[in-house]
Every structure is written in C-alpha cells, then in structure tokens.
Symmetry: D2
Subunit: 336 residues, 4 copies
C-alpha cells in the first residue's frame, strides 16, 4: 500500500500517518515524490479504510496487484491447457474454436459439428443453457442436449466447450464436456467461480462487459484458489459509448493479459462485432494481436438460428476464414 | 421491429424484404423516412436474425421496449413496496435505508442498529454474505449472522435488507429479513433472479456497473415474471472513464426510470462516491433528482470496518445528513 | 514521480533504477510497499519516458497533480467570479443562468431576456456562434447578433454569457459580453485557451465529453497561466455506454472539483438530460450536489427553436423551477 | 426522421402527430411496428424539436446518416489519397507511416528520417506544433522546424505528415508538408476543419477520444464540403473504463468505417497502446483488421524523447516489425 499526502502537508501530518501505521503493526517508510509526501507500507493486510479519517491523506493506493495466482510470475513460462487432448496456450498452434451459439436440435448440432470437423476444427462451441438478457428469449434446449454433447464427442470426434450458468448446470455438464465456459454476465458470480475451482475440466472465463483486467484476473484467482489450474481468459468486448458495434472489442487486452498473467488468452470476435460482416476482420485482428485461440460463432443456417444468428458466420464463410487465420498467425511469427 | 434499408436501395431490394416478411408470416408496412426506405413489422416474434443475409438491409431495430412487466404502462400509478410495514414508492415519504456494509459482530450490528433507530431510520442495511472482487477479502460472517438479523428485528425494531448472492443464500435469508438485495454483480445471474421471483419478500435489484436501463428493467422482468411484484430498482454507479470516483453515479437514471417503469427507484450514493467526504453531496442530489429512497453506508467505527470503511459515514455525520435529506425532499416538492 | 518495480524484482534491478535517477540528476528514495519495490523521485522534471527501457519497471506514475494554478491549495478559500457585478462562487448565493441555446432574432432574444429578467434571472445565456456537429445544421446568427448582446445588456439589464469558438470570435465577442464560454468540444483547443488567458472577461470552461477532471483542470491552467484568474468550470455530461440520456451528467464531479480546485463549479443540466422532461430533476440534483451555479436552456417557443429545442424548458416551466432550485439550495444548507 | 409513439398511444395521439407533420409541410406515413405506432417523415429538414411538446411521442430518431459527403455511396469504389505521389486507400499496398512524436532538432529529425527511409518507409510523421494536455509540457519546436520539413523532403526524399493545431499553423505548414494532421482534440474544432477544407494537401483526421463514428464522419464532411476531397480517417483509441491502456483502440471501427464511408482508414497503434511493448501487437492487429495504413511512433532514442517516449519504438524494433506488418497484410489477403 502507498499513502499519498495532500499538497501542503506538514511534518505533523506525516507523523500522524506514521503513528497510525505503527498502531496497525505496519512497517512504514516515508519518502518524497515531487512535492508530495508519501508513505510506503508493508507487513500487514490493511487497506485504505484504516487511514480514511486522516484529512491529510489524499489517497491510499495499492501498489501490488490484487490478483495473485493468475499473475505471470507464478508461472513465467505460461500455462498450457489440455482440452481433451487439444493443447491451448503459449507456444502451441493457434486454436480455433467454432460452432453455433446454441445447440438447437440433433440435426443442427451434428450437422454443423461434422462440417466444422471436416474444415479442420478440433473444438466445438455450443450452448445448452443460455443466459439471456430477456426472460422472453429462447433459453436453450437445456438438459435434453446433454446426450447431444456425448454424441458429438463420440461420433464426430470433436471436443466440446459449453456454458455453465450456475452451480447446478456445472454439475450437470461436467461429465459431458471437455471445457466449461463461464459467461461474461457470470464473471463475478463467486459461487459459480468457487464451484469451477473444484471442476475437473478446464474453464473458459469470459471478461464481463464492465470489468477491468484486474477484476478478470481476480475472478480467475477464485478458480485457481480452488485447485483448478486450467483456466483460459476470454476477451469478448466491453461496454463503451462507441455505438457502432454491440460491444467494443478491447484487443489491447491480449498483449496486456500476456504481460500480467500466465493464463492463455482467447478472443471471441463474434460478440464484439455483433454483425456477421465484421467478424472476419476482428478474428484476423485477434490472431495478429497474439490471441492463443479465437472462438467464432458459425451456424448452418444463420437466418433461422434461435440466438445470435446475425453475428454467426455461414459455414462457407468460416471455411474461407480459417486458412487466413492460420496464415496471419504464421505471418505474425507463430505456429498455426 | 423496424427494418432500415441501405442508402440507395432499389424497389427490388424492398420487394426482397417484403417477401421475406411474408414468408415469416409477418405484417410488413413499407414507408419512406427521409432518403431511406423502411419497413415496419408486426405480428410475429422474429428478430434481426431472419433478415441478416439481405445485404440491402442496413439494420434491424426494436421499436418497442424489451422489458414488459416492469414498463410504466403496466401500472401507471406506480408500485409501492411494503417492507415489513414500511412503504417505499410513488407518493410515499422519502425512505432512508442506512447501515454498515457488513454485519461484523453482535456488538457492531446491534450498536449501529440502535443508533440508527434513534436517529429515525426504519430500515437497516447490512450484509452477511459478501460478493467480494477478491477471494482474499473478508467474505462476511455468513450463516452465523442469521440470528443477528432476528435480534435486530425483534429487539431493536428495525426492518432489515440484506444481500443474497445465490439461490442457496436466498433460501437461508428469506426467513430472517424484510427485503433481499441482489447486488450489481448478480444483476444478470438469471438463476438467482428466477429464484427471487418466487421469494415472498420485496427485492432490491441493483443495476450492474456495465448495464443499461433496458437490461436492468429486463432483469426486473425475470423477477416479476416469477410472480413477485415487489421489486425496487437501485442505481449505484456505472463504469466510465471518469476516474475521480469509484463509479459514476448516473442520477439521470432516476427520472428516466420513473418515466419507463412503475417500480420504485433507490439510489446508493456510497458506492458511487467511493469516499466518505462526497457521500452527503451525492445523497442530497439523489433525493433532489427524485429517488424514492436512498441507501447509505454508516458504520460505528469506519476505520476498522471489514469492508467499505472508506465510504462509510460516521454515525454523527449521518445524523447531521438525515434532516438535510428530508429538507431537500420537501424543497423539491414531496413529502419527507 | 513514483516508480513501481515488477513483482520479483532484484536488488540489481533496483540499483539500475537508482543509477538512472542519478544520471538524470534526480533525488531517489527506494522503499518497500507490500511485495513491491518502489522508488520515489524528486528534484527534476523528468517523466516516464526516461525509464521506459528498463524492463524491471512495471510502471511510472505521477504522484502529484498535473494541474497547478487551479489547485485548491493555491486559493484555499475559493475563487469568486465577478460577472459584470454578479458574484459566482464559494459563499455566494446560488447563481442561475438561463436562456436559449441560440439567439435567433431580436424578437426571440429580447423577449426571452425580458421574461427571464422578470423571473429573477440575472445572467442570460445565448449563443451567436454555434459549434455544430454537422455542417448542415444552423451555425448561429454570428456577427449580426453582436448588437443584440449590447441591447440585452443595456435595455433589459441582464448580464450575458456567450460562446467563443475560436480566437477570432473571442476577439469579436469580448466587447459585447460579460462572460465568455469555451464549449466542451473546444476544451483542449489550446490556441483558444491561451487567448482566453488574455481576455479581460470571466471564462466559463466546459468539460469535454471525453475529458477527465485532471484534463479539465489542466485546461483551466492554460487560461490561468495567461493571467486571467476568473475561470468557472462547467460539468455538462460525459460520454458513457449509458444510452438513455444524451450524455451522462457526472454530478460527483461537483464535490470532487470543490476538493481539488478553488474555481467555482457550474452545472449545465440541459445537455446532460437531453430531453426537457428530465431537466428539472437534474437541475435540482445539481444544486443539491453543491453546484455554485446552474445553467439552464429556456426558449420562448421550444418547438421552433433552431437548436436544442427538445431540451429547452418553456418559460412557464422555468418559472416554476426557479424557486424550487432556491429552496433546495437553502435546504442543502446554503444561501439562495 | 422516424417518430415512435408511446406504448398505449391512441388514434387521437397519432392524429396529433400527423397534424403537426402537415403543419410543417412534411410527408408523413404512419405504420405499426409491433405494439408501437410509428410515423415515417420525409420531405423537410425538421428535427426532434418540432415534436417535443407532444407527450404521446416516445422519441424521434434519425433514420438516415448525419454525414453525407463521406458516405460510402458517394464513392462506392473508395477514395485513394495522393500524398506527394504515395497512394493511400482501397486497393493500394499497405502504407506504413513512421517517425517521432515531435521533431526535436536537425540531428534527431534527419537521423531518424534517414533510418526510416532505409527501412523502406515512404512517409514520415513528426510534429512541430504539439497540442499538449498540460501548459507545462514541451510544446514543440514550432516555426523553427519548418525548414527541417523542407530538408527532410528534399534531402532524404520522404513525404511528411505533420499536425496543424489551428488555422494559423495550418497556413504556416501548408507549403512545407505533404499531408496535414488534425489531432484528436481538434476533431470538432470547426474553424480548423473549415480551413482544412480549403487546404491543397490531404488531411489526416483523427477520431476524438470521446467521438462516435458518426461524429468523425460528420467532421470529415466539414472538410469535404469545403472542396478538399483528400481526407483519411484515423482511429487512435477512445476513452473507456478500461484502464490497462492509455486509450482503448477500437479496431472494429476499421471494418465499420469501410462499410460506412469511402475514405481511407488509418490506425495509430502507439497512442492506443501507450507503452512500447504493446505497440507491435496492436499494429499487426490493425493491419489484419484491414487498415489502409498504420502510423507508428519511432524515435532514435526514446528515453530522451521530449514527448511520447514511452510509447515510441526503437528503430531496431520498427525494422523488425515492418516486414511482419507486410506479411500479415498479405496473409489477410491484400497487397503489401
């Protein structure tokens, strides 16, 4: 912690801060930074609260990071996930996850799974339980889709990532999937994060639309602290004033997360773009920015999709995009 | 739904849109708005998806509101909540909810409850289960605080609002509280919202820091659709670039929510301000803007509070603030 | 300046930072803040740049404020402006500035001026040169309105505030007004700010929709540094994702600016609200939050206004609002 | 324009809207969109104002775009700029603009110009007049740098882009440069935009940090309306809550602007990233997203740069980056 005193603070002010620190059992080192007195604190676990009655204190700020287990220095070489045998992370080939927003029926699900398998995809995305903004929207085919996941994995041979929306659905999905997604709206659903910490599958944690990177990494810490070391972070767009897209895809989060954390970084260009025509550009940009994986919505017939159809690619578009993604990965200097 | 065609669209483009509408069983009315062709749609439940392959379509937009049950026209005179006998809503006196962020011990909880009761407060806030950004922060006294709630209600005679963080804690808290809070991070925890729809207590639903008013109202619809008509909406600050405060309190949401919805509007000035010195100004502003209630953090000894101490008022500050809040309510033209 | 080293930094890393500081002639004090090494710097005018090649440096941050002349400690008792005899600032009665967005004709301008004078207003707002987002919008009556300003001041007896959009228009307006406004879009038009520093009139500096308070105050420093000490700061709404209003009025900026600066704070609730029905609530809230003045758009016939009509009050609405503003000011504890 | 009536509007409400439209000489077509009555308007140039007194009106919205001359349909094949013989725009090879934030001295300027020329760069960036947030920061070498521009162009053979901060500096710079930049803070300095419309050089218009794409394109219209058809649009980061970078680079603006406008799109990854280590990733991402050009800050000795040193690349880093940019351009499917 660091305390910054008000402009014009006096030696008596400084002494008041030091006395408080002593009372709290903290080690305090005063110093001068420009025209401000500061006090560096260590040795305890206090926060801004304990100094909040001293009017000579301009602010109290963290100097270290709030997140711990997800910090880069805990695993300097980077964590690599194992998703049913497919590897995702630092030094691995670009991983492309694709599939519909929702699994809607056996025909739709198995059809698109086969198409994508043939195109070279190894991991399918597809939701059974849909966290929908409106209670009047399609909520997913839910329990009845569990056997579909088994069939896709057994028959088509794809790995599957699907979303758990609460502890109950995580319990239900765990035996039927290869990776579980925690969605943006649940990034700070701490009960779910704690349950995910006990999950035996890798977890794809999406950044909340109003969340900072610190908050994303601290949320990841909830999972890591539970003992599950297999966590990937997913940028999918944040809330800003910029109204031309559904969300603003914050691609600078990719190099930033790679500096701050050892966890692999995935980008979902579909939710950020919001419309089909702009998804390929954003997927290519994500790869060029260094994403370890991209996750793209593809639907066999987007105009009849029960969710997110307007941002889902046609299979032919995706087939055209995939080799370009790999070419960009190589051009940017990595394996594809 | 409304379809806006691209600039320079042709009669053939228009016909393609109309044909698609017919195929979907929709009633379509074309019209001209400035230099753009538009098509108004009604009679079905389709969305943008179904037109997303037509390149002549510039955009498809909702014209009506996504929320329904919380819309003003469902209850033009405004909903009034009954919180254990205290009334909150349109035409009622200003309601001031106060108390510590967390209930920490019997001494702290009962002490502050008695102090606030004496000051004229009728509803105490106080958390047992705390949704904390970091897993390393104090998580509340949890189950062991349940009997404290009973004691505050029975002995001190205050009504109590406290936060449920998941379905399990809602079950636990329901017999011991007068109102349940769903926090900003859980605003789109749809499992919890559905459970709250079956709750027999009024619910205080906080706006997520990255949520629009439409999303807040649609989240309220999840609760209302479950049969619980007693919902209050709470503005507590949104995420913006403006870094001088912890969040940006969006007070214009107060008159906006009153226009859009029949549900009462509460403002939490403490989380928006983030520091004690600015809480009174924002509480006064909230009342002047027309909030039906304000909810203020007060702690008997803020410098040793286990959460949110730096934004908690001292009891003496609150005692000085309360009559000013009531005076502003009267000056702005309402009962206090 | 403060340097924060990376987690896991070594004594050699620290020595590298100290050596660089010595080379730059700076006084450097190392300290420990939690698990991070920090170095406090003083004695020179360097910035982050000079340490940007040291990979052991996590970040370099300012500790003091970027603004100087506008800082509270330069004038602890608060600056009071003299606007042609009307006083605006700390300890003065609430100041209500009102008038149309644009002065459109002698009839409109003199008519509304007389109406507002009668209602008790002492300062009229009204633009001649309009900075319009679109080149196709009404750009103001420009030079031909100069004599109107004279007439309002001489005949009606109101003081006048009007906007200068560049150095040339500031030259033109200076002899005809009592206060000059620099609009939100020009908050960082540094040529204009420098010219305003040489102006003999008080200046109303509006916060840019994308500007932090630091940037607003540093912009004010450009004017103060030129010798003009009569500057008021105006909050008028910022750009956020919250789409229910035209801008998000950041009322917490009022107490924050009062803590940070000695300059008076004005709030423009009209641009923030964007629609007439919500202006009164936001004007009342601004006063309750402690604004030294509010500036409200009023038009004799809003439906034919040539700019901002939808957010302009009718004269009768304003007449009803004014005493409520004054009552709220008194209720919140100040003169009105 | 489109009028949306309130939920529950009556036939009489509709008639009131139609009557108002008739009075204004507008053609009005009523239609039904879901449960809302709407009225499409054409034939006049009115706006929301004229209907703002009708309480049955929920909102009035534009259907067409506010910008005109910059709209894609005015030049469907895309505008190509000629910057002293170097072509920038649709179908042209990737254009890489590089150079220091400020030209600081003949040695620095000519040295880096020669280095970049040798690396294959054809256009140098470099500022003489610097719009600095703080009046206490280096403001550029100003007039004395004009002859340096001449020397770089004549001796080194590079084209030059440099920033004009007001009408006076535009006059000064016009004879000495190949392209003029209007910075983010001046995007809505309409006097400067009008002057740029009369300029004989191409103009690089940067998006304001708080500006929407509509506002950027409408600002471009000011220049185009003056007769200057040579305008490029530059994304350089917007203001959001996301605090890990100086600004949030909104790369989805690239495909969006290409859909909306015929003007070439440039990305400045340096200001968005804010720190050197993240600039290459964002430059590569910008190219993959389809930018027609990228503009990168490169300084011969960043640690002694007088502005923006911490985000400037070393020449060796840039030399390593340039071929990767070109490889990504080819991989994404275009000439490089």
């Amino acid at each position: 912690m660091l305390i910054v005193l008000q402009p014009g603070s006096t030696p008596a002010d400084l002494e008041a801060v030091l006395a408080r620190a002593r009372k709290l059992g903290l080690t305090a080192q005063p110093a001068q930074a420009g025209d401000r007195r500061i006090v560096a604190l260590s040795g305890g676990s206090t926060d801004a609260t304990a100094f909040s009655d001293l009017s000579c204190v301009a602010r109290v700020q963290r100097v270290d990071d709030a997140f711990r287990l997800s910090a880069r220095d805990k695993q300097p070489r980077g964590t690599v996930l194992d998703i049913g045998g497919v590897r995702l992370g630092s030094g691995q080939p670009l991983c492309v996850i694709a599939g519909p927003c929702s699994l809607e029926s056996p025909e739709q699900a198995l059809g698109i799974a086969r198409t994508l398998k043939q195109a070279g995809v190894r991991i399918l995305r597809g939701g059974l339980f849909k966290p929908r903004t409106s209670p009047y929207s399609f909520q997913g085919i839910q329990e009845e889709g569990l056997k579909l996941l088994d069939e896709i994995r057994a028959t088509v041979g794809l790995k599957v990532v699907t979303e758990a929306v609460d502890e109950r659905t995580l319990d239900l999905l765990e035996p039927h999937a290869d990776m579980l997604q925690i969605g943006a709206r649940n990034m700070q659903n701490f009960s779910l994060l704690r349950r995910a910490g006990k999950c035996r599958l890798p977890v794809l944690l999406k950044r909340g639309a109003g969340a900072t990177l610190d908050e994303l990494l601290t949320a990841a810490d909830y999972i890591l602290a539970g003992g599950n070391t297999q966590v990937a972070l997913c940028e999918r767009g944040i809330r800003t004033f910029s109204s031309h897209s559904r969300y603003t895809l914050d691609l600078a989060a990719v190099p930033a997360l790679h500096e701050l954390s050892h966890l692999p970084v995935v980008v979902d260009p579909s939710h950020g773009a919001g419309v089909r025509s702009r998804v390929p550009a954003m997927a290519l940009a994500a790869v060029a920015a260094g994403a370890d994986a991209v996750m793209v919505e593809v639907h066999p017939e987007p105009t009849v999709a029960r969710s997110d159809g307007q941002q889902s690619l046609y299979p032919a578009q995706f087939a055209e995009l995939l080799p370009r993604l790999q070419a960009v990965a190589r051009a940017a200097g990595r394996e594809a």
